[in-house]
């Protein structure tokens, strides 16, 4: 029992040295949850000024902030929404100059456990002083990242090639058809009530952030036009504009009308995500 514990202490010390010495590559996360954690931890422990911060759902997660500026960051999280990102901004001292907030039907999805876990004093300080406990340094993820880095050096592939590899047209059409059917109805009163409640919470988060001299800009990421133009989607967007009136809240202009390509009806393919991110850069 003693020997395994001694070996463990040795292994942890070695790993700690390798992480603080930056010998190991940090991972971007290998699962949805892990990717979300890596993003939020990087944000919570960042020590340089962030110029532009994107907060939102998986739609925003597809946008590469590097196309906006080197000091931009993305807190778009798969399965979550702007509410989680805004809560993080609220809880950290170093605020960004501009926060872009994705506003659509996902706004209510907040992960309170994630926030609690991040700011729990034990977790917070152990991750602050021992970076090996951060998600980005999980050994398996680091290993996969190292292999990925090695392969990418060998074979640089374009965004178009990535899209081609990952998109299954037949699958996309099935999903789009289902989504069109689901959205081919008016927005229900229940849905409106939910949006109203979620919007109130987002508004109070925005207010608190704006008090810290942060510019907040609202936007929505386009999806497949066939879904975006359904009755429910259009009514939802109109309703959200009444909840966040452009007179009181700064909205990004509508993106140029074009056939936005998605992988599943909702999420932009890499190439179109780049176009949309550049559009954001030009408008802010």
């Amino acid at each position: 029992m003693v020997r395994p514990l001694l070996i463990l202490i040795f292994l942890l010390s070695l790993y700690h040295t390798l992480t603080i010495g930056k010998v190991l590559p940090s991972s971007e996360g290998i699962s949805i949850e892990e990717t979300n954690y890596v993003k939020v931890e990087k944000y919570v422990y960042h020590d340089s000024k962030i110029d532009v911060l994107l907060v939102g759902s998986s739609r925003t997660a597809k946008l590469d902030p590097q196309y906006i500026s080197d000091d931009a960051a993305n807190l778009g999280m798969r399965g979550l929404s702007s509410a989680t990102g805004l809560e993080l901004v609220k809880n950290t001292k170093l605020k960004p100059s501009i926060v872009l907030v994705e506003i659509n039907e996902t706004i209510g999805r907040q992960d309170e456990d994630l926030i609690k876990s991040l700011f729990n004093p034990f977790n917070y300080y152990i991750r602050l002083y021992f970076p090996m406990f951060r998600t980005e340094y999980r050994p398996v993820s680091v290993f996969i990242q190292a292999v990925r880095n090695f392969l990418e050096k060998e074979d640089i592939i374009s965004l178009e090639e990535i899209d081609q590899q990952r998109i299954n047209l037949e699958f996309r059409e099935t999903i789009v058809k289902e989504a069109i059917q689901d959205n081919d109805q008016p927005l229900s009163e229940d849905a409106k009530a939910t949006l109203r409640r979620d919007a109130e919470s987002i508004k109070s988060q925005i207010k608190s952030i704006e008090d810290g001299d942060v510019r907040v800009v609202l936007y929505n990421v386009p999806g497949d036009p066939r879904i975006d133009n359904t009755m429910k989607q259009r009514q939802e967007q109109e309703f959200l504009r009444t909840l966040f009136p452009p007179k009181k809240f700064e909205w990004l202009p509508e993106p140029p009308a074009r056939e936005w390509n998605t992988s599943d009806g909702t999420h932009l393919i890499s190439n179109d995500a780049k176009v949309f991110t550049e559009f954001i850069r030009d408008k802010i």
Partner: protein, 448 residues
Amino acid sequence: MLVILLIISMLLNGFTSFRVAHAPDRKGEIFWAFTGVTINLAILGLFKYGSLLTHLFVDNLTNVTPGEGAIALLLHLPLPIGISFYTFQGISLVVDVFRNRDKDNSYVGDSLVRHLVNTSFFIALFPQIIAGPIVKANTFFPQIQTKYFKYIKWDIVFRSLTIGYFLKMVVADNLKDYTYWIACPYCQGQATSTNLVLLFGYSMQIFADFAGYSIIAIGLGAALGYRFPENFNFPYISRSIAEFWRRWHISLSSWLRDYLYFPLGGNRKGQTRTYINLMIVMTLGGLWHGAAWSYAVWGMFHGFGLALERFFGLANKKAEEQVKQLPFWQQFILDFIRVMAVFWFVSLGWLLFKLPQFGEALQFMGALFKNVGKPPDLRFVAPILIFSLPVVIYHIPHFPTFEHLTNRYLDPSKNKIAKGLQNMALATMLFFIVLNSGSSNEFIYFQF
């Protein structure tokens, strides 16, 4: 209410088993044993299968309104956690006392109060109450005595807890983030190879989750001075389905064998009756896992596999002896093919655990033949293979063809190098528990 049910189970089984042991005549013994088993099954039936059977009734009769009175109550009965496990333990107590009535029933004793206390301890002992192993009365009761700290085997406690938590927190909890993508419609867009790896990953996850829990329970039991039965014996190196069931969830399969298959006549009443018995036992074993028809179908699937195997004589001793006569490499190839065949048969069955809706399971099966030429998605494949690796490594030394070599050269109690390797392995597992645990997730078998 759930605690009340547990208390009822303790009182019921303590009282009826005591009455069986002290009945003045045979009629009394039969009466009390029958009463105990029947009430146990009635409680299990009501809480676990009440909703399923009521649905069947309501769905097929048009003049029944589901939202009213007793029907609504039955449809919304809560499923008490661990009920399948502690009910089976209770039945084992009553039946064991009944079977041993002519022998020394020393563990019942002469004091009803003492026996009720012991029964309560037997049923509610915390490490195993929720998800087993299902402890049998005749192996547990003799262990109830004063325990001394100096007799606790700390090396077993440490080893069991380390391996158990590693399997659960590192392997199962990480794999769940990827096996999630087995669900439809995602499965339809994925390559055949990706879907196969996802299915492989789910097999690894369910093993790591359940075996992990059982090993933790064994470790906690050992810390309290109790020995729980082994629940898993490297099931994924089984060369036949019969062997798989001797290695997987041993405490349940041996319970079903002792308290259901043997009483039904086992294999002693002719071929046809044996097949029928196998199907009955496996279907009920399937339903034990959950109140859904998919579990019954899963049980039937295994029952059918066992019957087929028996029909073709694939798992009998004669066939095993013939294999042993072959040269080493031929034995290895044959064993490998058989292990793979059983593994994929079992994995296909797990699909009904992951996708309890038949439609979804069928869609997944269809998707396996859909995108054959598409390259695998490394975002899923790489992590699944890495997180599954410990389970594979855990099984390999016990592969049938070279298990004797493992026993000779890798026994830590006889070999210093093996002991050193074991220490390294335990330290590495702890390292991964500290740094690479997945997000916590309920044990899969908690739902049963």
